[in-house]
């Protein structure tokens, strides 16, 4: 009976998906950072120029996009800590799977209060 190839440490499991998400979020944050350094540099031009551009950040659309960016940052940062633990902690490799689920739980735990506060600011609630 031919059997399906067994999964490896990486293929098709937490090891792979954690890495795929880490890579995608890293690229997204990188491109945002390029834009963010440039928009902040406008303070050197004039108060009017900076305020005009930053006012677009206060619109509902960008407010929502920013919420998405924070999700990406939360995941990348916490999974980055998981990678560091896998590499430097004696039991890191043994617990890499459990640590990934912990990363997701902490992401949600930090995201919920962030989203409540940020979105009520964006949409002027409360």
């Amino acid at each position: 009976m031919p059997t399906k190839p067994a999964g490896t440490l990486y293929r098709g499991k937490v090891g792979m998906w954690s890495w795929v998400l880490h890579r995608i979020t890293g690229v997204a944050i990188f491109f945002f950072l390029l834009v963010h350094v440039l928009d902040t540099a406008l303070v050197r031009l004039s108060p009017e120029a900076y305020n005009a551009v930053i006012s677009t950040y206060k619109t509902p659309l960008i407010g929502l996009a920013e919420t998405g960016l924070v999700v990406a940052i939360l995941y990348h940062a916490l999974n980055g800590v998981r990678i560091i633990l896998v590499d430097f902690w004696r039991k890191g490799a043994k617990y890499q799977n459990k640590m990934w689920w912990a990363v997701l739980v902490i992401c949600v735990a930090l995201f919920v209060p962030f989203a409540i506060r940020h979105l009520s600011n964006v949409f002027h609630i409360g």
């Binding site: 990188f30 050197r44 108060p47 009017e48 940062a77 980055g80």
Partner: protein, 145 residues
């Protein structure tokens, strides 16, 4: 397209510095510091007071009048740009097979990184919170005192 793969069991060259190792360590050290810097940045700018609606020229002027936030933001700028650029270099090395295209992209990444570090550092440390001739209502309150 042919790819030359080194003989798997050949020992690594011990000539010169092992830059890939330093890059690997840099990703981890900068990452650990960036967690604190970025979470603090998001909290101070988006969670306190009116959050996003409070951010304008006067807000930034007020923050950078304080050397604490100048150093915070300066460190974040350098660590994050070099971390992000080195990460992008890894990704380019993974997916771009044509040698000259790969080299051009990696070169462009470091040029952009260097330009933004110079720009950002100048902005943080040569910034004038009270530019002459500006509408006082747009400036931090300490400008008119």
């Amino acid at each position: 397209m042919s790819v030359v793969i080194e003989t798997p069991r050949s020992p690594r060259s011990r000539k010169g510095a092992n830059w890939e190792k330093y890059g690997w360590m840099y990703m981890r050290i900068s990452g650990a510091i960036l967690v604190a810097l970025i979470f603090g940045h998001l909290f101070a700018n988006l969670m306190v007071g009116e959050g996003i609606h409070a951010i304008d020229f006067a807000f930034v002027g007020g923050k950078w009048a304080n050397p604490f936030w100048q150093v915070w933001d300066g460190l974040m700028l350098w660590l994050a740009l070099i971390h992000g650029t080195n990460g992008m270099r890894t990704i380019v090395n993974d997916y771009v097979e044509r040698q000259n295209v790969r080299k051009a992209l990696v070169w462009a990444l470091w040029v952009i990184c260097g330009a933004l570090i110079v720009l950002g550092t100048l902005v943080i440390f040569t910034f004038d919170p009270c530019p002459a001739g500006s509408d006082p209502s747009l400036l931090p309150s300490f400008c008119t005192k």
